[in-house]
């Protein structure tokens, strides 16, 4: 087991290096830089600052310097925030993680139930309806759903707060604070879940349809098990195991989706910071964050892979 884990981890290294090279190359191409956007400094000062930030290095030196930092856990220096990139990520990422986590739980739960229901009733009216609805929520751009949601739920009918994470000036403590945050989470979570749930529902439906056709389901029924037991114990477990590998790829999707919703709902997450960083050309913050997500994805995949091996007895590691 340990050797498997180690081997799998070692395999990620070339991918990580590849990702980092691609990223640095792309970022190097980006026109504009933070220093030049300050109109009040002299050309000499601008050159001095660029030198200080390492913006003038040729790309391979830039890469080596940066890679060296990354190897020691230093993702670079955010010029805009005047802080290490890791500090900035740490400051904002948890808010994003909160949303992403809740969305992950909701969307998987909903997708599993709806997908199963839809598969069990394949070709029924409900299946058609669900198929349509799922495609409907998948078929609007995220920002559009977000703006519509704000319009209907926060502006026209003041059911949810317009945006942000806490009620300013309320100074809630304890449970009141938690409820306050939950209230503010409603809209972004609903929107992100709606966006995320569609594809997953389709996945689970297809996967369940495959499983339900298997012989062992017939065996289970022939044992006199309740249909619920057949579906949720026998079928779902088989459908879920391959889905574990999907989890790894959920990460970049969730964070990317969150970028838009954070911007719209004014949620203080890392996504909106990243968008700002792009516009301000905060070189290392852009690079650091993108690499961070890529890293999470790769690690997420490894973990998903290992989990899969744990969960599926057929490939279980001994």
């Amino acid at each position: 087991m340990t050797t498997q884990v180690i081997r799998r981890l070692l395999q990620t290294i070339p991918t990580l290096i590849g990702v980092s090279i691609v990223l640095v190359l792309i970022f190097h191409l980006i026109p504009g830089n933070f220093v030049d956007s300050n109109p009040t400094i002299s050309k000499e000062r601008a050159a001095e600052l660029k030198e200080m930030y390492g913006l003038t290095d040729p790309v391979h030196i830039k890469y080596l310097k940066w890679a060296k930092g990354v190897a020691t856990g230093d993702l670079g220096y955010s010029i805009q925030h005047k802080q290490p990139v890791t500090t900035i990520i740490d400051r904002y990422v948890w808010n994003s993680v909160l949303i992403a986590g809740v969305v992950l739980i909701f969307s998987w739960t909903i997708a599993i139930f709806v997908g199963v229901f839809s598969a069990v009733r394949q070709h029924s009216f409900y299946d058609g309806l669900i198929t349509f609805l799922v495609f409907a929520v998948m078929s609007l751009p995220s920002f559009f759903i977000g703006l519509l949601a704000i319009k209907f739920f926060a502006v026209d009918n003041r059911i949810f707060p317009v945006g942000g994470m806490i009620t300013t000036g309320a100074n809630y403590e304890g449970w009141a604070h938690i409820w306050d945050v939950i209230e503010h989470m409603f809209l972004p979570v609903i929107v992100l879940t709606a966006l995320n749930v569609g594809g997953l529902t389709r996945y689970f439906r297809t996967s369940m349809l495959d499983v339900i056709k298997q012989d062992f389901i017939r065996t289970a029924r022939a044992k006199g098990l309740k249909e619920r037991t057949v579906i949720f114990k026998h079928a779902l477990r088989n459908a879920l195991i391959p889905a574990i590998t999907l989890l790894g790829f959920e990460i970049p999707g969730l964070f990317a989706g969150a970028m838009i919703t954070e911007k719209i709902f004014n949620w203080p997450g890392i996504g909106s910071i990243f968008l700002n960083a792009i516009n301000a050309r905060d070189y290392f913050l852009m690079l650091g964050y993108t690499f961070f997500i890529a890293f999470l994805t790769i690690i997420g995949n490894v973990i998903a892979d290992l989990l899969y091996r744990v969960a599926d007895p057929r490939v279980r590691m001994k």
């Binding site: 065996t219 289970a220 029924r221 044992k223 006199g224 098990l225 026998h234 477990r237 969960a311």
Partner: protein
């Protein structure tokens, strides 16, 4: 003479496919007596498995059991509430299937799968169920039962898996065991072992067995009574010796001839000419007429009726029908 355990009366199960309605089980009647082994014989698609699934009430869409009765202990299973039917499945009537490789859930342990019926039907505690499960595993002839209990299906061979299937089926001491081609997918040596096992079970527990097969060798070895099906209909039914000695229906005769006989060298095995008719386009006639050597004009005009002859022998063929000759 033992009592009827199961009685099929005019069972009809249809499948509504995109190309039309398939009468998979078309007015089938026969019965299984307590402690008896009944073999249902026929080619692929003749409706023998669907008959069994109809009995279990596990025919799924687009199939639908639409007529007739299946009497079990005087009750019509077809009208039973789903809840009551569940209590019969796996408990009083158990079933094993053709593909042992895929009939066990790959992500649950053998133990989980054997104890499941014990827990739900017998209300056993987990501990008792485990004890019983290990007994069952030993009963079906697998050594190191305790270890097998915790294994997963993929760790076992096909023969062992089929034994496990049998153990599951036997777990609640069913009155009837339906075995749908239980040996088809297995090696010949394993086949013999499984058949032995089933024979032992039958003698030990006095369980009735409804065995579905296309292999007349298996029939000869196992059956007390045989039902021959063709295109959804029962065309012949007789005690096993009677049938082998005196097959009436040309189809049955064909089957007999198609079976290789040991120590008898043949240049070519006999094959029944033609193909199984398209199930959607069945007319109002004898479905075998196109392939029959003895086809008469009547055969294409009217369907023959299953008629009882001597020695509890039933057949549906105009050849033996006086009425047929008359009209």
């Amino acid at each position: 003479m033992a009592n009827n355990l199961i009685e099929f009366r005019n069972l009809r199960t249809n499948f509504y496919t995109s190309s039309g309605v398939v009468k998979a089980v078309n007015d089938v009647s026969f019965s299984i007596r307590e402690g008896e082994t009944l073999c249902v014989v026929g080619e692929s698609g003749c409706g023998k498995s669907v008959t069994a699934m109809s009995l279990m009430r596990l025919v799924s869409p687009p199939g639908k059991t639409e007529g007739g009765q299946i009497l079990y202990k005087g009750q019509d299973l077809l009208t039973l509430k789903e809840r009551d039917m569940r209590h019969i499945r796996g408990n009083e009537i158990a079933m094993i299937f053709q593909e042992p490789m895929t009939s066990l859930n790959p992500v649950l342990t053998i133990g989980d799968q054997i104890t499941e019926p014990l827990l739900i039907h017998k209300g056993m505690t987990r501990k008792d169920a485990k004890k019983r499960a290990i007994e069952l595993i030993e009963l079906v002839g697998i050594p190191r039962a305790a270890k097998i209990f915790d294994s997963y299906p993929h760790e076992l061979s096909g023969g062992m898996r089929q034994r496990i299937m049998i153990a599951i089926a036997l777990s609640c001491d069913p009155k009837l065991l339906i075995a749908d081609e239980p040996t088809t997918a297995l090696d010949v040596t394993i086949q013999a072992q499984i058949l032995d096992l089933m024979r032992n079970i039958k003698s030990e527990f006095n369980t009735a067995i409804m065995m579905i097969t296309h292999d007349l060798g298996v029939v000869a070895e196992m059956a007390d009574h045989v039902v021959v099906m063709y295109a959804g209909k029962v065309i012949e039914e007789a005690p096993v010796h009677e049938l082998f000695a005196n097959p009436k229906h040309p189809y049955t005769q064909g089957l007999m001839r198609a079976k290789p006989i040991i120590n008898q060298r043949q240049d070519r095995l006999y094959t029944i000419p033609g193909q199984v008719p398209n199930p959607v386009e069945l007319g109002n006639n004898c479905y075998f007429n196109e392939r029959c050597e003895h086809c008469m004009s009547l055969c294409v005009e009217k369907p023959p009726i299953l008629t009882t002859y001597e020695n509890k022998h039933k057949a549906a063929c105009w050849l033996y029908e006086k009425g047929g000759e008359v009209s």
